[in-house]
């Protein structure tokens, strides 16, 4: 449920509105639901509203965790003596 997509805040507008960019696509959305939105923040956009900021640090941490799943596997393979 709840289709939402991360987009970058490019401009803050009056009345809790902001322009966000998703690659070259720009759309005006409401930022009434997030605390202290700022230009260059990435926010999760759902039905024309920013729901939450996206944390860059946590995103890289998750990607690192995913890559680690492989590290573990490679180590296991090394132990098993099989080359990839």
């Amino acid at each position: 449920m709840c289709l939402a997509i991360p987009a970058k805040v490019t401009e803050l507008l009056a009345d809790d509105m902001a322009t966000v960019a998703l690659d070259g696509v720009k759309k005006q959305i409401s930022v009434a639901l997030v605390e202290d939105p700022a230009v260059d923040d990435y926010v999760l956009v759902h039905v024309g509203y920013a729901l939450h900021k996206v944390s860059p640090d946590e995103a890289s941490r998750t990607l690192a965790m995913m890559a680690e799943a492989g590290l573990l596997q490679e180590e296991l393979e090394e132990i098993a003596g099989s080359e990839q």
Partner: protein, 385 residues
Amino acid sequence: MKYVDEFRDRDLAKTIAEAIRQEADPGRTYNIMEFCGGHTHAIFRYGVKDLMPENVRFVHGPGCPVCVLPVRRLDDAVEIAERHDVILCTYGDMMRVPGTKQRSLIKAKADGADIKMVYSTLDALKIARNNPDREVVFFAIGFETTTPPTAVAIKTAERERLKNFSVFCNHVLTPSAIGHILESPEVRELGTVQIDGFLGPSHVSSVIGSEPYEFFAEEFGKPVVIAGFEPLDVMQSALMLIRQINEGRHEVENEYTRVVTSEGNLKAQQLVSDVFELRQSFEWRGLGKVPYSALKIRETYAAFDAEKRFEVSEKKSREVKSCECPAILRGVKKPTDCKLFGTVCTPDSPMGSCMVSSEGACAAYWTYGRHREKARAAPVKEAAE
């Protein structure tokens, strides 16, 4: 697209798939319920199942707001549009859902009702501003994710004194639905539905946080991993669930930390509780009446409540008798267990909501997986590997 493309990376998918293959115990089955239709969609859209070992199974849950809306409420929306001559604004998802006697909003529109598809409550407000001499009703559906935007719209309407704007509120709550499933006889006693763990909602959790799930993990002894909607999120979360199951743990873990915190979005929660209060009971398609599982507009904002503004008649709403949507929504049956699936019920002429919504299990089976078993046997599949 930043924060999107990285989570669809093919090499990384392979890495996680290999780890799952290594760690999943071939001697057992892992039954993972993805509560959200968004996960169902991602699993089918990206062919995630193909990268999983056979013994890791996904059980599709009821987390599709379109699917769980009871026919009665849809019939009411159609009636409001037709009888009261309003402009009814709706998200595109609802347009084709069949009500009683297959009557949908799109059919009502074809017959002359003024029904407008909107992307946002912001658009519905705009329509109300531009048509001061018409009543404009927003048909609000959705879980905790979609509720705060409705709350903002109601507050905006109040501030701007938009007297011709009202909301037909059908917002429902995720934790009550999960609890209801876990307490159902199929899961608790009969064992007809085996659930070993949950993929927890992504965007719902961005609003409500990860804390509300602690109770389920504790009370029912089921692990929960809050998972993003990108295919790698689903895979990584499945891996985390497999590890918990292997180690006999039942905790709430959060894979989707880039958006979900433990407390969620407090500002949004505050707005929602300003505008809405719990309904004592609300009917869900498939789950029946679930206590305290939905929201209604508070008395303070009664002026914007379409249920108070527009009378609807008592009616005998009914679903197609042999439609298995209810059982499918509880995870008791698979779409292919339904007699109607693919025969009289297809996305072209849907009999039930699960065949309409792109998150519905039936639509996903049909659109992405029709004749799948046959296709697996064909040489095509080998060529793909």
